[in-house]
Assembly symmetry: C2
Homo-oligomer: 357 residues x 2
């Protein structure tokens, strides 16, 4: 029940113990096509370039920036937690001139803030974290995407913690480049980063003046392996792709709408129980994530002691606060397989016992 990795279904764990095929084996190549097709459903997109990058979510972030940015490009990044801050660092390492649009941790990035930042600027990219794993706040992005496009920018979105647990609609929202991780609401072990690029983003990546600074993450090379040419690039993590294939299958069997509803219902169950314990959720009301709950640590309680007791006495992992929220919140994940009423009840009972409420 931490901020990820989430619990993994038995059939996904079993998938990884299947014999390892070659990365150009016809059977594996067919599986790659199925993974791409299922990812398109989960991302709600028709984008041809939709596939898993062979690294964890942070590699997905780097993939997105490194392919679009050339030295000197202007980028606007919304920063309201750890991952917005990481985006700034990654973009700057690509040579971007970054303008930060900041909100206090736990609050969302407002469209008006982006509109203000866009005044007199023509950035190449506007980048936002959809679900901030470090604060539990969900920034609505439809309006921000429109503003970005009106200014001639590409819209880049981090959905590491939202994909599979909260609506993500790439085509409807006109997201140009999006990345996620496997170990949150998709309930697959960490190790792959699903990404999707619009044709507009691909055109930018293809028509660069300079080479992409990362060979490993160069979408122009990856397109030949994950596309129809099947040209050898790197050796894909075969077993991780087995796991993702099975995890996506389970997502589609449940159905996206049902899955979102389940995440919402268990969040509400948790919130009700927390209220009964006199506790509350720290992130901005009306924008609280269902899958990552930032629970305010009560006055006079040492958060680390409670966290250790949860782990050692009840085998429940929850996350600590980061940055300005260190010591002030617990981060309780209800992601994918972890989002079950029985887990909520067990957690509430354990917390009640530890806090002697």
């Amino acid at each position: 029940m931490g901020p990820g990795p989430s619990d993994v279904a038995p059939s996904v764990l079993r998938a990884m113990s299947l014999p390892v095929l070659g990365h150009l084996d016809p059977l594996f190549v067919a599986m790659m096509d199925e993974i791409k097709a299922m990812l398109r459903v989960v991302f709600q997109t028709k984008n041809a370039m939709t596939f898993p990058v062979s690294g964890t979510g942070s590699a997905g972030m780097e993939f997105c920036f490194v392919n679009l940015i050339e030295p000197g490009d202007e980028v606007i990044v919304g920063v309201n937690g750890v991952f917005g801050g990481r985006m700034v660092d990654v973009a700057e390492r690509c040579g971007a001139k970054v303008t930060k649009v900041e909100s206090p941790w736990g609050k969302i990035i407002e469209p008006s803030q982006i509109a203000e930042a866009l005044k007199g600027r023509r950035p190449k990219i506007v980048a936002i974290v959809h679900a901030e794993t470090s604060t539990g706040a969900l920034t609505p992005v439809e309006e921000i995407s429109k503003l970005a496009h009106q200014a001639g920018a590409l819209f880049l979105l981090d959905t590491v913690t939202s994909l599979g647990g909260w609506p993500v609609r790439v085509d409807e929202w006109e997201v140009d480049e999006i990345y996620s991780g496997t170990q949150k609401c998709l309930s697959c072990p960490p190790g792959l980063a699903p990404v999707s690029l619009s044709d507009r983003a691909m055109a930018v990546a293809t028509n660069r003046k300079t080479k992409v600074q990362s060979w490993y993450l160069d979408v122009n090379l990856l397109a030949s392996y994950w596309g129809q040419e099947r040209v050898y690039h790197h050796t894909a993590p075969i077993s991780m792709n087995y796991a993702l294939h099975e995890a996506l299958r389970l997502v589609l069997i449940e159905g996206l709408e049902s899955r979102w509803k389940r995440h919402q219902a268990n969040h509400e169950l948790l919130k009700k129980g927390l209220t009964e314990l006199g506790l509350s959720i720290a992130s901005q009301p009306g924008h609280q994530l269902w899958q990552l709950n930032a629970v305010t640590v009560p006055e006079g309680v040492d958060e680390a002691t409670v966290r250790k007791a949860l782990l050692n006495d009840f085998s429940i992992e929850v996350g600590a606060g980061l940055g300005p929220l260190k010591g002030k919140i617990w981060r309780v994940g209800l992601m994918g397989e972890t989002s079950k009423p029985e887990h909520v009840e067990t957690f509430l009972r354990a917390l009640r016992g530890i806090l002697k409420k």
Copy 2:
């Protein structure tokens, strides 16, 4: 029996189906220490910074260059196959001025060639591929390492295909930076890249004037996660680390010396059988890899037809030739778990049948 991924032992496959721990869970953190300790034995080094990068072997290559190179640095790269060529591309994307030292594909890089290239130059790095997976040639590197150090350069070595199947002695050979992959002679599924840095290489990475251009692969950040601080960087691929832990355990149970001898014995068995079929190994005599055998395609035989028959009728995968060797060789892997006399015999029988010898 391709150029990797190799067969994986049942206990390694089973390890991946264990429940996924958090990346900061005390149990996982203890496992990280064991992985580092076992990798030090396999690399034959005392280097503190010895750990698996969270990507495949090519990410390991990029890790090595990206951490040491700053724009304008001079690098000498030995090129005698695909992976030397890839090193050049990766180094140039880091802003390096690269001098290529080339040998024909299938031949080794001679110390005299490196000595010649070093005349009047003070490069920052001399980089060599130990075992060229694309040609089956093994370049001895002790002399080259000495030449590099005499010129004040760091010595960088690719051991993707050699580690675990051929002697690799990091400390004795004074290798400053080394990378490998998990899916060759370590017989673990692809997804991680074991690396090791000497203190000298770490000092260069730590005292850079510019930030490492990759956030994901920045050793200064990774050192805080894989070191004693355990600062969150990215979510490590937990299940892949379970697999690597078990794969390394099996390597150490067998013993490095025994493992090398096994690889040699099965290579010799294959070579004997090939000779009986009138076939030969294409790479330079005296420098032929035990674990990757470049078999010359006989005159008048279509290599793809034979390769497909091996896969479809006998379930044996072998690799095709790449670049100038396309259509001219089959690449027969005898790596890790795949290196067994019964596999050699089965392959020879199948090949004899297909070629109607």
